[in-house]
């Protein structure tokens, strides 16, 4: 069991690191998400792997270690906040820079970015029109 668990964590970390090294913001946020899964599993494992021994008093003779669970619980929620922040940073970066490259360097290649760019260069009046269109 321990070997399988460790292998799974290792594979997840490998995948997440690879994704985090990509140049597109979306891949990096994906990598971050995978990484937080892996890290949560890792932290959780520090309490040992126990079957059918939840840390509820009175339900079992020998409850499992509750402390890593408490730590991981908040880590999950904060991980969500962090993922959200990174994702919205990515959206904001794309809105301001015109592409979704982390280095903000390469020319916009996708059609959306081109439209964004056009819109940025248009005067304010047309923007209202495009807002109306999307309605």
């Amino acid at each position: 069991m321990e070997l399988i668990y460790a292998t799974v964590v290792g594979v997840m970390v490998t995948c997440s690191v690879f994704l985090m090294l990509r140049g597109h913001t979306f891949a990096i946020v994906m990598g971050l998400t995978l990484m937080s899964y892996a890290v949560n599993l890792f932290l959780f494992a520090s309490g040992g792997l126990a079957l059918h021994k939840p840390a509820i008093l009175g339900e079992t003779e020998n409850p499992t270690d509750p402390l890593p669970q408490a730590l991981v619980l908040t880590a999950i929620v904060i991980g969500f906040a962090m993922t959200a922040f990174a994702l919205i940073l990515a959206i904001r970066a794309r809105a301001d820079l015109g592409n979704d490259q982390v280095d903000g360097r390469s020319a916009p290649t996708d059609s959306l970015a081109t439209k964004d760019k056009e819109q940025r260069e248009k005067p304010r009046a047309t923007e209202k029109a495009s807002g109306g269109k999307s309605r």
Binding site: G10, M12, V13, T14, C15, A55, L67, L73, T74, V77
Partner: protein, 946 residues
């Protein structure tokens, strides 16, 4: 936070002492407030508090002389031995008198010296701040506190040197002074920390009582080098002396106060302060005396060739500081006493000489000795005063300078510091004495006699009456100490000696006449040699002119700029703006940090045997591996990648459930829903897929290699951790959950009770993230596409009826479930985090199904209000324990009985959990709904929010 009480340890607690540094500290405000009033009033106001402080010091003199040192101490962070404590011993007393006495004279002098346009308020404020810092240095009874004031002297002197900040030499000089003394200060900090750790206390009095402990330690040479580096840079010892002449760009009152009387003596003070515990070793004698001797000669020789009045005085100061250092480094009993005696004498005559130089500059418009000639006719009174002070500097009998110089000559004959070469020292100090006579002669003869003034900007005249008063006071002191030394300073020197030699001060008496002896002969030779040198000055100047003069300022600036260029290049190399590169190096660093300890681990397999494998686990593991790998493979097809990553998330939550963590499983499951909604919304704005044609194979191999290595390391670490027994503190929580926290769900009790403070921090982070996202989305200018990348238009049916109906009917149920989860959380899986997420997801579902407009018609939810009230509730439920005089977040619980409901429990932790609940709802909704609004007509416009 200052825990205030007077400790009774040490000598005698005396609250009066705290006022000595505190009054000048308060006094820094007065000149700033009085800045617009007439100068005389400003000067008087500035002088008032330091004068009171001087009165307190004088009042304490009898007590210090009796050896009963006043002590005052406040505990601050006792764990780190950071206390605020002061004590006044003989050494401190002598310096306090110098700092406050000369400081008051300088305040008076500066009132006449500063020009109309100068900002006198700022000047006085910096000057009094410096005074505070200096008093702090000499009174500190704590090593770190001493260092703090030490650095404060550097900073305040920087402010004073740059007082005329429009002058480039003032800025450069100040920078140089700050850099050199600041670097020395860092070395000193290291040295003091080593001393503190070695002695086991940062309390200065305990350090001083440690005897031979430090010198016998193997690290003694390092400690000595670090402390001396601080002392030598501050006291301008060779080869760190070059900053002092550059600091002469300061106004003359500053030069007179800082650069002759006080700050440059701080290094001397430091050596004297640690004299009992650091000296009396071969190393000390060799280093200190050689550095002192070199400085004495280099300074005296250079002073001779300076044409600038202040330049001459600056190098003469360096030379005299070298003399004092040399005395501290001689291995005879009286040398240290002589050193302290010369500290007083030098401060008195050099401060008055600087003031005289300032008067000459002020009234004639020049400091160039090639132009200044024959001033005796124009200002006979000032000239007489300056001549007396200069004679003292040269060591003429009946003046104080003569006495300490005689003591130096006498001690140089008795020392054995240089072994068989010890005969060199008396010879070289006599040469130094001759040079001092020569430059003093030059100062007097060149300026006041030697023909007529050449091209002076102003016609010289006597200064205002009161500008001379400080000079007069100091010159009278020169004479008094010179004629009646034992009466004036005898007792003070005994008290100072008690600080330097706690085991007993040798008998000594200072008198003018010791009979015809060798020191007298040396004095005679020095005077003769000085006169001879000066009479041959033309030849010497011609000789010196052959050498190119090195401007220390430019050399320093050059090295600084080289350093800056190098640093910039290094920074541009590291910080090249590529995020991908930073990530790569960061992960590589993690790999190294992780790998090195694993290399040292004998085997990954620990002592615990592996447990059995079951089919469910294998299935889950396979799903996780396939899901993760698939996410990487299809990451360019983003919608598909989202599906695979959500598979991973679901299996992770199932794994939590499988391994006895129901709370985690519930949390992960509800977070999963929120995350996927979030990603879907993001994909509305980001390209739904990208082409991979620009990826280079080398890059992929590199990244894959690094990823594999880090993955393997983490996997190994996990395995090693799983097969080793843990020594956990968790048992405490399991035992006390019911009795101490009143709940059977230990995880929840830990969250809301035992580690409530952590949870409070975590929901704060959540709130900050939500508000940060709100800010990021405000005013965003984004094109809202009406079709996906392949040109397929979004569905016209924005709010399908089926979805609307189902979600609306589900809402009460979902809220009920979340209320149930919340209430049972203390005893069964659930709690504020999970309930908050469930509620948030239920509400988000309404947004998705019915739209923002529909939701607003039914009461606009103010997410910020949720967040703030949640945080406030959590805080108040914690702060409530203050009313009962318990620490923050102490929980309370009890059981009650209600008819129909039965026995139930109320706990303050539940209020806290409610705060968590509200914050989680607010944050989650704020994140998702604000992003969601962007896809609709409700999006905020750049001008303001809709």
């Amino acid at each position: 936070m200052l825990h205030c009480h007077i400790t009774v340890s040490g000598d005698s607690p005396d609250m009066n002492l705290i006022w000595v540094p505190l009054l000048p500290l308060l006094g820094t405000l007065i000149p700033l407030l009085l800045g617009r009033y007439p100068r005389s009033m400003l000067a008087l106001g500035t002088a008032f508090l330091p004068a009171v402080a001087l009165g307190i010091v004088i009042h304490l003199i009898p007590q210090v002389m009796a050896g009963d040192y006043p002590v005052v101490s406040f505990e601050w962070i006792p764990l780190l031995s950071l206390n605020i404590s002061f004590f006044l011993d003989g050494l401190g007393l002598m310096f306090c008198l110098l700092i406050l006495g000369i400081g008051l004279l300088v305040i008076l002098y500066a009132r006449y010296y500063l020009a109309e346009g100068d900002n006198a308020g700022r000047f006085y404020a910096s000057l009094v701040l410096f005074m505070t810092a200096m008093l702090g240095v000499v009174l500190s009874a704590n090593l770190i506190q001493l260092w703090f004031f030490w650095e404060l002297t550097s900073i305040s002197s920087f402010l004073l040197i740059t007082f005329w900040s429009h002058k480039t030499e003032a800025r450069k000089g100040a920078r140089m002074a700050l850099t050199i003394t600041g670097a020395g200060g860092l070395a000193l900090l290291a040295g003091l920390i080593m001393i503190g750790e070695l002695v086991g206390s940062y309390d200065l009095q305990r350090v001083l009582a440690s005897g031979r402990l430090i010198v016998e330690n193997e690290y003694y040479p390092v400690i000595l080098a670090l402390v001396l580096a601080g002392a030598f840079t501050k006291s301008a010892q060779f080869p760190f002396h070059s900053w002092l002449p550059q600091a002469m760009a300061a106004p003359t009152p500053v030069s007179s106060y800082l650069h002759s009387a006080t700050m440059v003596k701080a290094g001397i003070f430091l050596m004297a302060r640690f004299y009992p515990v650091l000296s009396q070793t071969e190393l000390w004698f060799a280093v200190v005396s050689l550095v002192g001797l070199t400085t004495l000669l280099v300074g005296a020789y250079t002073a001779l060739f300076k044409h600038d009045l202040k330049g001459l005085l600056a190098y003469s100061t360096i030379s005299h500081l070298g003399l004092i250092t040399l005395l501290l480094g001689l291995d005879t009993q009286l040398a240290a006493i002589a050193a302290m005696f010369h500290v007083i004498n030098h401060a008195v005559f050099k401060a008055s000489l600087f003031m005289a130089a300032g008067i000459i500059d002020h009234e004639s418009g020049s400091r160039d000795m090639r132009k200044l000639n024959g001033l005796f006719r124009y200002m006979p009174y000032t000239a007489t005063l300056a001549m007396v002070a200069a004679s003292s500097m040269a060591g003429v009998p009946l003046l104080n300078g003569f006495l300490s110089k005689e003591m130096l000559f006498a001690e140089s004959l008795n020392q054995h510091t240089l072994g068989s070469l010890s005969w060199l020292t008396p010879l070289l100090v006599t040469v130094g004495g001759a040079l001092a006579v020569a430059y003093s002669l030059r100062f007097v003869h060149d300026v006041f006699f030697n023909g007529d003034p050449i091209d002076l900007p102003k016609t010289p005249h006597e200064p205002p009456r009161y500008m001379r008063v400080p000079v007069e006071v100091l010159v009278v002191l020169c004479l008094l100490v010179g004629i009646l030394p034992d009466l004036i300073v005898g007792d003070l020197l005994v008290a100072v000696g008690a600080s330097l030699m706690p085991e007993g001060v040798p008998e000594f008496s200072i008198s003018i006449w010791h009979g015809f002896n060798i020191p007298l002969l040396m004095s005679f030779l020095a005077v003769l040699g000085g006169v001879a040198l000066y009479s041959q000055r033309r030849h010497m100047f011609a000789f010196q002119a052959q050498f190119a003069e090195v401007d220390a300022k430019y050399a320093f600036e050059q090295s600084v700029q080289r350093l800056v260029r190098g640093a910039t290049r290094l920074q541009e190399f590291i910080d090249n703006g590529s995020f991908q590169r930073y990530t790569f190096w960061l992960i590589l660093a993690v790999g190294v940090v992780l790998g090195v300890p694993l290399l040292e681990l004998a085997s990954a397999q620990g002592s615990i045997a592996r447990s059995d494998v079951d089919l469910v686990s294998i299935g889950g593991a396979l799903l996780l591996i396939v899901g993760s790998v698939a996410t990487v493979m299809v990451s360019h097809k983003r919608l598909l990648a989202l599906v695979t990553v959500s598979v991973v998330g679901l299996v992770v939550s199932m794994a939590f459930a499988w391994f006895s963590a129901p709370d985690l499983a519930l949390t992960q499951l509800s977070v999963e829903v929120a995350t996927i909604i979030l990603f879907l919304l993001a994909l509305y704005f980001l390209p739904q897929r990208i082409t991979l044609n620009h990826l280079s194979p080398a890059r992929i191999v590199r990244d894959l290699g690094l990823a594999t290595v880090v993955g393997a390391l983490v996997g190994t670490l996990t395995y090693a951790m799983l097969t080793r027994p843990v020594n956990s503190i968790s048992e405490f929580f399991t035992i006390n959950a019911k009795t101490g926290g009143g709940g059977t769900n230990v995880v929840n009790v830990i969250l809301v009770d035992f580690r409530g403070f952590d949870t409070f921090g975590e929901i704060t982070v959540l709130a900050i993230a939500a508000i940060g996202i709100f800010k990021l989305l405000a005013g965003i200018r984004m094109f809202a596409p009406s079709a996906d990348m392949d040109g397929r238009a979004w569905s016209r049916d924005r709010h399908p009826v089926m979805l609307m109906q189902i979600s609306q009917s589900l809402l009460p149920l979902a809220l009920l479930v979340s209320a149930y989860i919340f209430l049972r959380g203390h005893n069964l899986p659930g709690g504020g985090f999970i309930a908050g997420l469930v509620t948030a997801v239920a509400l988000i579902q309404q947004y998705i199904a019915n739209g923002v407009v529909w939701m607003r018609e039914r009461g606009d939810l103010n997410f910020q209000w949720f967040i703030v009230s949640g945080l406030l509730l959590a805080f108040l439920s914690g702060a409530g324990s203050w009313i009962f005089e318990r620490p923050f977040l102490t929980s309370w619980f009890d059981y009650f009985y209600l008819p129909l409901v039965g026995k139930f429990e109320l706990a303050s932790a539940m209020a806290f959990d409610l705060g968590v609940y509200l914050t989680v709802i607010g944050a989650t909704l704020s994140i998702l709904a604000n992003l969601g609004k962007l896809t609709t007509a409700e999006r905020p416009t750049p001008g303001g929010q809709s």
